[in-house]
C-alpha cells in the first residue's frame, strides 16, 4: 500500500523543533491538526503542544487526555480534525520504537523528532500499514534537519 505524503507547514516544524529541544532530555509531545483521509495527502495546519503526563517522560510519553479533548473540540470548531501526533526521541533516533508500534492507531500520522543534546537532528513521519510502521514522506523534507 502506498503511503500518502504529509505536508507540514514551517510553523508546525518550528513548534516541534522548539518544544522537542526545550523538553530534552524528556520527550515532548503533541497533536497534529489538519485535514486528511485514506489515501490522500495529509495537510497539517498546526502542531499543537500537549502535556506529557507519563511518569517516565525521559523514555515515554502519554498525551494528557484533557489536552486531547480540547484539541478535538478546537479542531472541529475550525472545520479540521486531528490527523496524527508528534513526539520527540531524546536519544536522537526518529524511527518508531516498539512502544510506539504497540500504542499506535491506524489512520494517524506519527511524526517523530530525533533530538540529541537538545538539538533536533532529524524529523520523520510514520503511519501504520498492516500493523507495521511505514514511512510517510514529508512533502519538501529530506528527513535531515539543517541548522538554523
Amino acid at each position: 500500500m502506498r503511503v500518502p505524503r504529509i505536508r507540514l507547514p514551517a510553523g508546525a516544524l518550528r513548534t516541534i523543533r522548539e518544544l522537542g529541544e526545550t523538553a530534552w532530555p524528556h520527550e515532548a509531545c503533541g497533536l497534529l491538526e489538519g485535514i486528511g483521509g485514506p489515501g490522500v495527502l495529509v495537510r497539517v495546519a498546526r502542531a499543537l503542544p500537549c502535556r506529557n503526563v507519563h511518569a517516565t517522560p525521559s523514555v515515554r510519553y502519554t498525551i494528557d487526555p484533557e489536552d486531547f479533548l480540547r484539541a478535538e473540540h478546537e479542531a472541529r470548531a475550525r472545520g479540521l480534525m486531528i490527523v496524527g501526533t508528534w513526539h520527540s526521541h531524546p536519544h536522537g533516533d526518529a524511527r518508531p520504537s516498539a512502544t510506539d508500534l504497540a500504542e499506535a492507531w491506524p489512520g494517524w500520522s506519527y511524526v517523530i523528532a530525533g533530538v540529541t543534546n537538545a538539538r533536533m537532528q532529524s524529523l520523520r513521519c510514520w503511519r501504520l500499514v498492516d500493523e507495521r510502521f511505514a514511512e510517510q514522506p514529508i512533502a519538501g523534507n529530506s528527513g535531515e534537519v539543517h541548522s538554523r
Binding site: 497533536l31 507519563h54 478535538e72 480534525m81 501526533t85 492507531w105
Partner: protein
C-alpha cells in the same frame, strides 16, 4: 430515553465504519455502549474489557467531564448530551 450523541475521534473511526459521531437514545453511558456494541462490536471492544469495565487507557467524557469523576459507566445522560470517547495517545 435521552437523545444523545456519541463523538468518535479519528483514531477510533476505523472501528465505527468511518463515522465521527452516532446519534443514540440512552439513559446512561453503560446503556449507550451496549447499544453501540450491537452495531460496532470492534469499537466497543476497544473501550470495554471482556467483563464490561472501562479499559484503563480509554477516557470517556460526558459534559466535558471524565466519567471516572462522575458515576463511571452508570453516569446518567440527558437530552443533548455529548459523550466523547478519548483513547490514550502514547508511545516511547
Amino acid at each position: 430515553m435521552a437523545d444523545v450523541t456519541l463523538r468518535i475521534p479519528t483514531p477510533l473511526q476505523p472501528y465505527a465504519g468511518g463515522r465521527g459521531q452516532i446519534a443514540l437514545q440512552a439513559d446512561s453511558v453503560d446503556e449507550l455502549l451496549s447499544q453501540v456494541a450491537s452495531d460496532y462490536p470492534p469499537l466497543v471492544q476497544r473501550i470495554r474489557t471482556r467483563d464490561g469495565q472501562l479499559r484503563p487507557y480509554v477516557n470517556v467524557f460526558v459534559r466535558r467531564t471524565d466519567i471516572r469523576q462522575l458515576d463511571g459507566l452508570s453516569t446518567s445522560l440527558s437530552d443533548g448530551d455529548e459523550v466523547i470517547v478519548m483513547p490514550s495517545v502514547a508511545g516511547g
